[in-house]
Amino acid sequence: MRVALFVPCYIDQFYPQVAIASLELLEKLGCEVEVPGNQTCCGQPMANSGFAHVTGGCDANFSANFSGYDYIVGPSGSCVLHLKEHHPDAKIRSSVYEICEFLVDVLQVKTLPSYFPHRVGLHQSCHGQRGLRISSMTERNEAPFSKLTYLLDLVKGCEWKYPERQDECCGFGGTFCVTEEAVSVKMGQDRIQEHQANQVDFIIGADTSCLMHMEGILKRSGSKVGVKHIVEILNAHA
């Protein structure tokens, strides 16, 4: 099984530990992982800003880096959803996976050797949740399910909590976070408040962009609560 690790641009630049954990975790689970060296960005920041018409170069570069793999796996629901919905190449669209859905649906992970003795607050990033259907949503009348909590339950010592509003958006929203700064920050503050009420050590999720936004707010308020991508927990060991 040839797996290509897709490392979104901002993770590459600002959160290398998330990419390292993804790589190590996939290898630990028996995947032969390659990291295409000239990858950059999926094109989402431009497309969500209304500039999908200028993302041709990004799309071409993505194809040049990721064609020919069985699976393309990335630690970002939002970027993966963008590729699934908008990349011009059907083969890319059908072979790209968010890492947790890949673990559950493709690798069908039943156990993990992980250990993370902390209480964490689970943020369900919208694009992974409602877009990729990584978990059920409170809007619909459907049986509850979650690929994220399924995986977290395999981690020894880890206690996870939902915030009171289980799946409300954190307010990141791509360029929304700067063009609608006031609403964006208010949304983030409200999410954080609910996680803090649960006395969590970390806010975790499957999308680093949401976490980056909440981390910025947490740090400004001097909070001790940290943020971690879920793969960092799944990859953690004693």
Binding site: F14, G50, C58, N141, E181
Partner: protein, 453 residues
């Protein structure tokens, strides 16, 4: 006019009020969840409702004609208005024929869209909005901030003060029960005196030529049944093919809107009362244009329940007036650019694209996808500020060139660690209330090169 972002910033400045607004509407969303989950076939109902509406849209002219024939056979006078102005003129000419100077009007978002009140008031007609929330905002010279809960931006203190000024209630009395009673007495007088009543329309049935109006207060019925002339105003997309379709829509509407089982009154008007005149005005006002826009045509399925408002994390924290449109919220943001792209260019961007709206929508409008499509449409039309075009093109260029990306990324991280004042300042909206992420020494690709190859 303030942009959505500017108006939101002002709204949020009152933190306590914002939290109240957010919590109150979230509570309505929670009631909607509870009501919908008591119906095991809820998702099947949504799908069915969506299919009825899509079928209707693909046969709209036939159904309009069928409705016209049947309504006329029932004794209803049918009028057609291609735009807001013609709608207002038609309504005015009917009023004029009866020589009346006052009328009562129940809630109709279409008349808000057409700015009917302002038009009639200029002609010297006293329009009395009879929905309690609408009467409150009318007294205050405001517009509704929510299509189902028009005065949700106000607190009871505000209403108490407004009623003190306009109805002479005791200063400082802010008891909702008392204030509602005051409005009941005040509006009863108006109902008993009015010869002309205007109502909106929730559904118009092609097969029977009847129309249905839903209220909780009973104000539409009080107006219509006491009046000599009843004028019902509707957008052409309110047509449904068959009477049995009402079974589907009435099960969805109130549950989606407020979590109620059904509105208190679901009134079916088929024929005028003896001696009464009944008119219906069918209004296009841009709907045929929206129908022709493939990506946006489904917005016309909307039944105006406002579930998307209540669930929207942006709406709840920015208030309805920040959308500067009669229909606010996510649905308003996909309807508004059809009327005026330039004036509403900010609205499709007033969303994180979280997708909650599309999933509460009882007729399954893909609202968040349409927001995305409007963004593309508006930017392609050149409605972006110049700076945004340059930065997007620059970003696309950098991100299409791996070596340039690596260089720019390394430079960026160096800037953040060596010269943080360049990004940590008031000109960077990120930094205003958030810290920048820490810049690691190595990017992942640099780490990979030095550790794995």
């Amino acid at each position: 006019m303030l942009s959505h972002a500017e108006a939101s910033e002002k709204f949020i400045a009152n933190q306590e009020r914002t939290d109240w607004h957010d919590d109150t509407l979230w509570f309505v969303r929670a009631k909607r969840d509870k009501a919908s989950k008591l119906i095991p076939e809820w998702e099947a109902l949504r799908e069915h409702a969506s299919q009825i509406k899509e079928h209707m849209l693909s046969n709209l002219p036939q159904y309009l004609l069928e409705f016209e024939v049947n309504a006329q056979a029932n004794g209803i006078q049918v009028h057609w208005a291609k735009d807001a102005h013609e709608h207002n003129e038609i309504v005015y000419s009917i009023i004029q024929k009866h020589g009346d100077k006052a009328l009562v009007k129940s809630k109709s978002m279409l008349t808000e869209e057409c700015h009917l009140n302002a038009f009639l008031e200029q002609k010297g007609i006293d329009v009395v909005d009879t929905d309690l929330g609408e009467r409150i905002v009318q007294f205050r010279n405001e517009v509704p901030s929510h299509i189902v809960l028009p005065a949700i931006h106000l607190k009871k203190e505000d209403v108490g003060e407004t009623f003190h000024q306009h109805l002479g209630t005791p200063k400082g009395n802010k008891d909702p029960q008392f204030l509602t009673e005051a409005a009941r007495i005040h509006l009863r007088e108006k109902f008993l005196a009015a010869k002309v009543a205007i109502t909106g329309v929730n559904f118009a049935v092609a097969e029977t030529g009847e129309f249905v109006v839903c209220t909780n207060e009973g104000n539409a019925d009080m107006g219509a049944h006491l009046s000599e002339v009843h004028i019902a105003c509707m957008g052409i997309e309110k047509i449904i093919p068959k009477r049995q379709d009402l079974g589907v829509f009435l099960r969805l509407l109130a549950r989606s809107a407020t979590g109620q089982l059904i509105t208190t009154y679901s009134s079916h008007f088929a024929k005028p009362r003896e001696g009464q005149e009944m008119h219906i005005v069918l209004v296009d006002n841009g709907r045929s244009r929206q129908l022709a826009r493939e990506e946006f045509r489904n917005s016309l399925k909307c039944i105006r329940c406002a579930a998307c408002f209540n669930t929207c994390p942006v709406y709840r924290r920015s208030g309805g007036h920040s959308y500067h449109q009669p229909v606010a919220g996510p649905i308003g943001s996909i309807l508004a650019p059809n009327f005026d792209k330039k004036a509403n260019v900010d609205l499709p961007f007033a969303s994180t694209l979280c997708g909650s709206c599309s999933n509460v929508c009882p007729v399954k409008i893909n609202i968040h996808e349409q927001l995305w499509f409007w963004r593309q449409d508006l930017m392609k039309e050149g409605l972006a500020p110049a700076g945004k075009v340059i930065s997007m093109k620059l970003m696309a260029w950098v991100l299409s060139n791996p070596s340039l990306f690596k260089w720019a990324g390394a430079m960026g991280r160096k800037v953040i660690s060596w010269a943080p004042w360049l990004v940590n300042n008031g000109l960077n909206p990120w930094y205003k209330q958030r810290e920048m992420p820490e810049a690691p020494k190595q990017s992942f690709q640099e780490w990979y090169k030095s550790n794995r190859s």
